[in-house]
């Protein structure tokens, strides 16, 4: 069933992308898109009841992500409508519920407040309707967890186009990354000290680093944060005109160029890799990354193509069979027809299997 996740995500993003292009949060604008894409057909087909149940659960859990930050207010509204639509069109009976996690409840309440303040009554109405129809499970986690440690985790990628813009700065410079930068800085200084002519002292010829990089970064970040808060405070009172919700980004950020977006996405990806490395190796990885200034495409390729060790089967084949390849060839000649048959059998077997 998990194989449907990617497809579901693509479909939801298509729907929400179209909804984003309408530049509105009205339910009337959502409905035609929903119908045009024929979303109710998502649940059609010959499916046994318990499979349908699992599929509905999966669809709701996947859609639930769009209802939460870091997405923009508009996408979250779209996410809410999407949940509403999925909940009412699902063919499981009794209806599968939307799981809402305790940690997300505050966000949901804030969202409702934002919507009410900005007079988006349809949003509030639909959320309240879902609540009063008891379509939520008040659960611990948004999905059931059963510790599938072997399974390769699906990277939970946030769709960059839907992301709330001010959030990016926050994501980029968190406490963790600051610490990383500080570590790298210290390391760098030490290296420089080590190669300088007078050991233990920085050579003035190569002393080009900003000493207070971290604190400066921090203060810039704080300043930006304050500015942002001020702006949002400014926009709240005039939100009476409808489409200027409190949660939405201000106009200034829209000047963000395409290139900046691209950079941000690449950076967030590469930082993601860094954070994943084990603690003991972390330091070295960061070093590598910063030396390539983070945007070098070849560097990225390096990261992605982390090669796994060959499987035992492959190794055996490489070591033994390739070396005595001639022998093997002789063998095939010898038992030619039989081997051929086996091969064709394997092929036909492969064809029968369903490939997701």
């Amino acid at each position: 069933m998990d194989n449907y996740i990617q497809a579901l995500k693509a479909d939801f993003e298509e729907l929400l992308g179209q909804f984003q292009r309408t530049d509105s949060v009205r339910y009337e604008n959502f409905l035609p898109i929903w119908r045009n894409l024929d979303f109710p057909s998502l649940f059609y087909g010959k499916i046994v009841p318990n499979e349908m149940r699992i599929f509905c659960r999966l669809a709701l859990a996947t859609a639930y992500q769009y209802f939460l930050p870091p997405y923009t207010f508009q996408i979250r509204v779209g996410g809410l409508y999407l949940l509403y639509g999925l909940y009412h069109t699902q063919l499981a009976s009794p209806k599968e519920k939307i799981r809402i996690a305790l940690k997300d409840w505050e966000e949901v309440m804030k969202f409702q407040q934002d919507a009410a303040n900005a007079q988006h009554y349809d949003v509030v109405y639909i959320l309240r309707k879902l609540l009063s129809e008891k379509s939520f499970y008040f659960a611990a986690m948004p999905k059931q967890l059963n510790y599938q440690s072997k399974k390769k985790p699906l990277r939970n990628e946030v769709c960059e186009e839907f992301r709330e813009r001010p959030q990016r700065v926050k994501d980029l410079i968190s406490m963790d990354t600051l610490e990383e930068v500080m570590n790298v800085q210290q390391h760098y200084e030490k290296m420089k000290a080590a190669i300088s002519a007078t050991p233990g002292q920085l050579d003035s010829a190569i002393n080009f680093i900003r000493k207070d990089l971290v604190s400066q970064l921090r203060s810039t970040m704080m300043e930006y944060h304050k500015l942002e808060e001020q702006q949002s405070r400014d926009t709240v009172p005039k939100s009476g005109d409808g489409d200027n919700a409190a949660g939405e980004g201000s106009s200034e950020q829209q000047e963000c160029s395409q290139r900046a977006q691209l950079l941000a996405s690449i950076k967030s990806k590469s930082y993601g890799h860094v954070l994943e490395a084990s603690k003991s190796r972390r330091h070295r990885q960061v070093e590598m990354d910063t030396s390539g200034s983070g945007t070098d495409p070849s560097q990225l390729v390096l990261f992605r193509k982390k090669k796994r060790p060959l499987s035992l089967k492959a190794r055996t084949k490489k070591n033994l069979i390739d070396k005595v390849g001639t022998l093997k060839q002789e063998a095939t000649e010898f038992t030619g027809p039989g081997m051929m048959e086996e091969n064709s059998k394997e092929n036909s077997k492969k064809k029968r299997r369903f490939r997701w």
Binding site: G45, I126, K134, F136
Partner: protein
Amino acid sequence: MAAAASGGGAGDGDRADAQENVPTYEWEDKNTKAFHVAAFGRLWREKLDPALYCYQDTEEDAEHAQLARELELSEETMEELRVICSPDSLTGGDVRTDVVPHDSSLKTVRLRKRKQDYKDSLRRDFPAKQDVFASELENLAIGRRPMDPELLVPEGEIILTVNVLYPVIFEAFKFCRHHMTLQVMGSQKLSELRDAICCVSDLQVYGEFSSTPDMAPEFISKDLYKSAFFFFEGVFYDDMRYPECTAISKSTIEWAKSHDFPTYRSAKMEETTFNDLVVKIGYPYLYCHQGDCEHVVIITDIRLAHRDDCLDKNLYPLLIYKHRMLTRKCSVCNLYISRWLTTDDHLAPMDPCLFCDMCFRTLHYDKEGNKLGHFLAYPYVDPGAFN
């Protein structure tokens, strides 16, 4: 980790406590950090309006009126909203829902179409037994309400979903983890879950009975060896309900002490409710019985009870999923499930060999019940016998 932390710790550390008991991921999509179950339930109930988790239907008009008051809306706007946002406009109308449209723009639908075409191309034309069985089991309990209102699950009760995996014994279990899923209420004792877990090793009969086959099925291991324990977050919960029970976790605890491991504590299973536990969701724990039959136990979900859940207290712990296993049939009739295993048997085609009760007796004994030839016979309990 203070496992048996008293549930109602009102007063000082309450706020800090609150933050701690909001479940968050320890590893993304794998498991959460440890939290106290009862405190988690309390947090939800504090945050929610009781109307949101009660079992009664909220009246639409009352709800509308309240919403109108809160948002200071006129009646016309409310009516307009109701019409615009009606869920009726979402559905596709009267279409056959069992046909996958073939020209859809949705990726999911295209994927399903492909899958379904593939399924149709297979020779068999019936749904898998596993699925049919699972749906039947699910439908048994959904929305059940007790006749006696006393037995109604209280509103705001916590429901835990527990996966109990079968111990890995068979080769076939190496790649998929077969399990059963049970739902328990937070107020239930751990021992109630223990009684609800059925495992073949509880039903084994030890000994060789070739000369007295009628004696055999009387002593099953469950009655002989009653000790068992659960292991959650560094605490062993031993079953000590009967005088014959021994704390079988003791040796493990002592071994851990002498080998520089973090110290483990032990507690009694029958005195602990699920509300008292401090657990991680999605983290593998252990249930051990019969000395060495070890089941991995995973709590996959904790949530408040919902109107559509089974609301009959008596039905909990409730089995909601069980893997259907293949049964091994008798090697003579190939019809009935085997009940006997023989070794060193001149009459059998292989060694060891499985027989159903009927075939075993007719083949191995004469009319007076005398043993024919030399063989050793052991009672056999098939893992699939519970299907």
